[in-house]
């Protein structure tokens, strides 16, 4: 069965520091992978997605993620974190059925940013 694991429940970084959020997935075929961010009181916003091709994908707000098939990972990175990046981050795998994805989410990583 498809699943997503985000090993870190909470991460705290200082503003300006680099960030890496971990995501491991289990999926039988080539996965469709997503990172979403949720700010308090907001819906889920897509940061970036991977379908095929270049394994390093660029997203919004300066985020990037690298797909590593051998490690079943899709880690999210940002070279310099801003205070406004404090939010909850969800990794998801798309279980393809017909013309759409059913998203299977990880438990999320809550990011706190110290000034």
């Amino acid at each position: 069965a498809q699943s997503v694991t985000q090993p870190d429940i909470h991460i705290t970084v200082s503003e300006g520091a680099s960030l890496e959020l971990r995501c491991n997935y289990s999926y039988g075929a080539t996965p469709y992978l997503f990172w979403y961010v949720q700010s308090p009181g907001q819906g889920l916003q897509l940061l970036l997605k991977y379908f095929s091709g270049d394994t390093l994908v660029q997203g919004i707000k300066g985020f990037e993620a690298e797909f590593k098939r051998s490690q079943s990972s899709f880690n999210l990175r940002k070279p310099s974190v801003h205070w406004s990046d404090a939010a909850e981050y969800f990794c998801a795998v798309g279980s393809i059925s017909g013309g759409y994805n059913k998203l299977i989410f990880g438990a999320g990583t809550r990011l706190a940013v110290h000034p």
Partner: protein, 114 residues
């Protein structure tokens, strides 16, 4: 920029009562979804809807749940007889056709069952 909207933002109800959660998907999208997130847990898929019928539903989506697109703009989730364990944040999402297309999420409705 087009967005998915949901009403109400917070719904409080008594156990056993019926609730209807409303969503207005992005106008040119054809796939619609409901997800839920129980406090402190992961976001879970409930149901997908296309061409006026359910495409797929999870085991959570039992006979107490139903979805409907009553007109050209709204997409609703009905819980017929709410239970305490239905308390959660419910997210609506929509997407264009095609597995690579992004699902756009609404801000959610927080349902509290007393």
């Amino acid at each position: 920029e087009p967005e998915v909207t949901q009403t109400p933002s917070h719904q409080v109800t008594q156990m056993g009562q019926e609730v209807i959660l409303r969503c207005v998907p992005i106008s040119n999208h054809l796939y619609f979804y409901w997800y839920r997130q129980i406090l402190g847990q992961k976001v879970e898929f409930l149901v997908s809807f296309y061409n006026n019928e359910i495409s797929e539903k999870s085991e959570i989506f039992d006979d107490q749940f139903s979805v409907e697109r009553p007109d050209g703009s709204n997409f609703t989730l009905k819980i017929r007889s709410t239970k305490l364990e239905d308390s959660a944040m419910y997210f609506c999402a929509s997407s264009a056709v095609g597995p690579g297309n992004e699902q756009f999420f609404g801000p959610g409705t927080r349902l509290t069952v007393l």
